[in-house]
């Protein structure tokens, strides 16, 4: 039996350190979106205004793809004034991603996230799936 996806935020003096664990790489990316939404807005799921958007990305490797993914969600949050806590990954390789994201319009942001960074970034295969650690600039 596989464990469900989960995430948690860890201590970092200046920024926010995010840990992700998921049974598949696609679910790891979906969990990353959920974590970002949770960081940005309290009780995001209660917001009713929603938009559904498609995302297509490419990057040189899967770590860079994870950074690109989060930075794309941050960019859209700021320009569309939505927060994207729900995602369904349709296609994923180490270098390409296609996903559907659901945005909700918050009244205000809890945490303004500037960007995802490469600092100490690592995606690891582990028993029952994948894990990742990365630092978000807030």
């Amino acid at each position: 039996m596989t464990s469900p996806s989960r995430h948690w935020f860890d201590e970092h003096t200046g920024e926010v350190q995010l840990h992700l664990v998921a049974p598949t790489l696609a679910q790891l990316f979906e969990e990353a979106a959920k974590a970002l939404g949770e960081l940005m807005v309290e009780r995001l799921a209660e917001r009713t205004n929603t938009s559904v958007e498609l995302v297509k990305l490419s990057a040189p490797d899967r770590e860079a793809l994870l950074v690109e993914w989060l930075n794309e969600l941050i960019f859209r949050s700021e320009t569309e004034h939505n927060v994207y806590g729900e995602a369904k990954v349709h296609r994923l390789s180490d270098t390409e991603l296609e996903a559907e994201i659901r945005g909700r319009t918050p009244e205000r942001l809890r945490t303004a996230v500037k960007a995802a960074t490469y600092h100490r970034l690592k995606i690891a295969s582990q028993e029952n799936g994948y894990s990742a650690t990365l630092i978000l600039d807030v």
């Binding site: 970092h12 003096t13 040189p60 960019f75 320009t79 303004a112 500037k114 600039d137 807030v138």
Partner: protein
């Protein structure tokens, strides 16, 4: 990293030799006393500064200011100069919030004369200054106007948009306009992100503070800066908003992919870099300068909104005059001459601190030194200092940018609850405007190093000297 590895070279300067790790090109130096040094042991900032020592072309030493703490790529409070033409420029050495900085305005009013008006003043500031997600009060710009902001910075805002006075310009670092700026090197995505953000404070640790001059340490210098005991001042801390964040995001990606081509090997991918003289290096520098101009323009618009608010609440004319003392960047790369060496000086969470004989400071401050602002945490004092001539050799003309975080946001919230903190600040006569108690707790004084201690190390090191101490009376948290 274990602190015993560091060798004490003077009272408040510690060094780690390049033999510590094979990829270090230069030693590192940290400005600290025993207490601040012990705080460094609790996070990864020293390890990050060791990584900086491995940047191609780095010269002299990588420097850690007294407020240094863990960041990503560079530590916050990290300074490094790379030798031009071929030393590298690294977006991670400047950070996502390009030209995050501080601007101090001095009022013609004494605090005791307007104390009764303070609640309505802070209330009106909170209505007129967009914070967090807020966008009201912003300056609406066409694409062409945005390009002019990026290329011309504050000159465009003051001379064309008439938001400010000509005298403001000479009291801004680099006159608020870097001539190497190139709007064509800023992506459409970055412009889209910044399009509706000029004149907004932003979130996180950005803030605006109404203050009282509590102590003057150097009467002559304070007089030249236009500061006197009991005077009312306003401090603005903000940056280049989403536009700057996207510029950094874009060029970290570009440089990460170009590393192999330049045969550059780095210990941390966030330090992705390119030779300054290369196409990638020059493109990033043009975009970074444009984002820096956007940040200076942003603080200019914010200052204009503060002046408008003072005029409305306290009456027009001389009564509400707010003069610009100075505006300094603390996340930026500058090309600076040190003897025969031309360096690209990266300052990440560090302030330029030029001495009294520098030709690059406003004529009004010659013989005194460039103003340096070290804001404390919310509810604690902020300091005005001036740079020294000795800073040139000691710290690449740099000083620290604040108190520096000591606790993570989560740890801060464990230590203090927002509503208790709000009550405590109010009991000390400080009016606080912050929507969320949780966010208030994240920026609690306990989360920061002791600013008095940090300033003490700066002065003992001889890189800047104290002019005045300012205490908060009203805080608008971003």
């Amino acid at each position: 990293m274990a602190i015993p590895e560091l060798k004490q070279v003077s009272e408040v300067v510690y060094e780690l030799g390049r033999e510590f790790r094979p990829d270090m090109h230069v030693p590192l130096r940290v400005f600290a006393d025993a207490h601040l040094l012990a705080q460094l042991e609790r996070d990864h900032s020293l390890e990050q500064l060791v990584n900086v020592c491995a940047l191609p072309g780095i010269t002299r030493q990588a420097l850690g200011m007294p407020d240094m703490h863990e960041g990503y790529g560079f530590p916050v409070g990290g300074v490094a100069g790379t030798l031009l033409p071929d030393g590298v420029i690294s977006p991670g050495g400047i950070g996502f919030d390009i030209n995050c900085g501080v601007r101090l305005l001095a009022s013609s009013l004494r605090f005791p004369d307007v104390e009764a008006e303070l609640p309505s003043l802070v209330h009106e500031l909170s209505r007129n200054i967009p914070t967090g997600y807020g966008r009201h009060g912003r300056l609406s710009l066409s694409p062409d106007e945005l390009d002019r902001v990026l290329n011309e910075g504050c000159k465009y805002i003051v001379r064309e948009k008439k938001l400010g006075v000509e005298e403001d310009l000479e009291r801004i670092e680099s006159l608020g306009s870097l001539t190497d700026a190139d709007a064509s090197k800023v992506s459409e995505r970055a412009k889209q992100r910044g399009q509706d953000q000029l004149g907004t404070l932003g979130g996180g640790n950005h803030f605006m503070e109404v203050q009282r001059v509590d102590t003057v340490f150097d009467e002559l210098a304070a007089n030249r800066l236009g500061l006197a005991p009991d005077q009312l001042t306003v401090l603005i801390h903000s940056g280049s908003r989403g536009l700057g964040h996207q510029v950094c995001t874009d060029y970290v990606r570009v440089m990460d992919q170009a590393l192999t081509g330049y045969k550059i090997s780095i210990p941390d991918r966030q330090l992705a870099c390119a030779p300054f003289s290369s196409r990638h290096g020059r493109d990033y520098f043009g975009a970074m300068c444009a984002a820096a101009n956007f940040a200076w323009a942003n603080r200019q618009v914010l200052a204009h909104r503060v002046r408008e608010t003072f005029g409305r609440v306290l009456g027009g004319g001389a009564n509400s005059r707010l003069s610009l003392v100075y505006d300094v960047a603390h996340n930026i790369a500058k090309i600076e001459q040190f003897g025969s060496q031309r360096l690209c000086v990266h300052r990440k969470g560090a302030t330029r601190a030029l001495g009294p004989s520098s030709p690059d400071i406003p004529a009004v401050y010659r013989g005194i030194g460039q103003p340096v602002f070290i804001p404390g945490s919310m509810g604690t004092a902020s300091f005005v200092l001036v740079g020294t001539n000795a800073a040139r050799d000691l710290s690449l003309n740099s000083a620290c940018h604040g108190a520096g975080r000591a606790l993570s946001r989560t740890a801060a919230k464990r230590e203090v609850t927002g509503h208790v903190l709000r009550k405590e600040l109010e009991s000390r006569g400080i009016i606080v405007r912050c929507v969320s108690n949780a966010e208030l707790a994240e920026e609690a004084p306990i989360a920061y190093k002791d600013v008095e201690r940090v300033v003490d190390v700066v002065t003992r090191a001889g890189i800047a000297r104290k002019v005045a101490r300012l205490v908060p009376r009203g805080v608008l948290k971003g």
